[in-house]
Symmetry: C2
Subunit: 346 residues, 2 copies
Amino acid sequence: MIKTIEYVDGVVRMIDQTLLPSEKVFVDCKTIEEVGHAIKTMIIRGAPAIGVAAAMGVSLGADSISASNFDEFFAALEKQCDQLGKSRPTAVNLAWAINRMKQVAKDSKNLPVSELKVRLKEEALTILTEDISINKAMGQHGQTLVESGNVVLTHCNAGALATAGYGTALGVIRASIGAGKNIRVLANETRPFLQGARLTAWELKEDNIPVKLITDSMCGFFMKNKEVDLVVVGADRIAGNGDIANKIGTYMVAVLAKENNIPFYVAAPVSTLDLSLASGDEIPIEERSAEEVVNINNKRMAPEGIEVAHPAFDITPNKLVTAIITEEGIARPPFTESLKAMAQKK
Amino acid sequence: MIKTIEYVDGVVRMIDQTLLPSEKVFVDCKTIEEVGHAIKTMIIRGAPAIGVAAAMGVSLGADSISASNFDEFFAALEKQCDQLGKSRPTAVNLAWAINRMKQVAKDSKNLPVSELKVRLKEEALTILTEDISINKAMGQHGQTLVESGNVVLTHCNAGALATAGYGTALGVIRASIGAGKNIRVLANETRPFLQGARLTAWELKEDNIPVKLITDSMCGFFMKNKEVDLVVVGADRIAGNGDIANKIGTYMVAVLAKENNIPFYVAAPVSTLDLSLASGDEIPIEERSAEEVVNINNKRMAPEGIEVAHPAFDITPNKLVTAIITEEGIARPPFTESLKAMAQKK
């Protein structure tokens, strides 16, 4: 399995997810700005992977600061973090990772600046290894919801490539297979960025997990024909009431699942919870470039001079969510209570 | 406006809809086989346009037959028609047009073969002009359902390019604008063939009708945000009970419309009704090549060696359909009665 992201010798190396599966190109980031650019342009994407990249970016940023005392150092670090925090607005893991790194700096303010930089590097690497452990724990909880013979529909890529490894939604699939269950995956291609076709299909194939690729518009057809047993997707941010921000189209999948009495599960780490928000209405929805919708493989597919929209995420209301799978257990409605309980276990 | 299809001097000329909007190339068919190929490869598509093309194809086929008497002529014609009828299975207009042409031949069996051929050519041209009139009548009925200020969501292309001209669903939009209503269109791109991005956006822009293009996965987002007032789509076949076969993704749109209390209308000529079928379960769903899903602009977007599905149509159950707009009026539930009444008006 190709490593999504690693951090060695002052370089954050990530596989360029805009080029998979046809090209396997690694991008080396040596500055926090380069990491921010990689996040913004989706060289790396997926809420947990963005969190890991951000932590590593903060460490690179810290290394670049020449300061003789903590206050000077921290002021420079905060400035860098503010900039990095703007790279993508919807996934809360970005802010979560940055805040965690800033907290580590503050907690270590009595250390010499050079040791503080080492401490931040260690924290970034801890976030990476923790992410994999969290995904495996999530997978163990999630696989109890899956039966042998099931077909699992997923949208976008909430896999190894969206995390430090193993995956959230695809972690549930990997854990189910690890538990000896014979399951198959139906993958939405996930326009416009085609994370399903390019990333989910690719990483499942690498692991020899049976996958059938469909366009997003086909998932209702297969649900209605009773060819889907459950849905598992990831999340970019979860409000306190269980409303889910995730890749555009997730709401569509959830409504179709409800119509066809199919369970709709969300797999996401506790770091994706944003209990400060009462509902999904407060989650900012990133509007990306129209070019990403109309230009496919360098060819414009629609006429010039028309309006094109590109909301990159949507909100799935909690009433459509059967359960939320976290590393601390499975949260069920009412989510206001169950999500708080998950967060308190940390 | 570019003519979708015309028939002059023994040549059926159609605009190649696989190349729009970037290239405007016309394809000349001189034999019934060439017309069948154009239908199969979607150089021409859209249920009513397929019907018109098929009628013209039958006329070309008739012209090629050397026969000294009717029986000999008709046997050869039937053989050709059987082949043409297999070009695409879901749209009933193909069979409808072929049967109408065969009936004309049978009704004129006492004519000399040379005159019979002239009669068939006239009938094909009648089907073309009738189709435009039918669309305009449908538009007049349909526009009564649209209010000024409305945003109309449509899927696929049920426009001038899907018919001999004017369109079915887009005919309703054109008639609404003709009646002085200020409306805007939200167009699903319609993967995998991108009829929405390539054809609907293009023909609306040509007519200066405001259109916003979205991916199929975004339509739920805009419905939930109260940015859609009604849905109008076309149909490839309508069963006696009002179940609708239409482009893959139509079912998705209908379920999302129901969830958001948005009226879901189907605009289709009476020739699209197949009252011989009790329900949509009996409508054959065409499975097209997986290549059309994974290859975009000559680049494979998914890994090799995975399964890919491509059902080209889906069935929207009658319970999700608010009304069916025909040239004879607007049919409302219960459709078993109302559709029969529409057919009897012909």
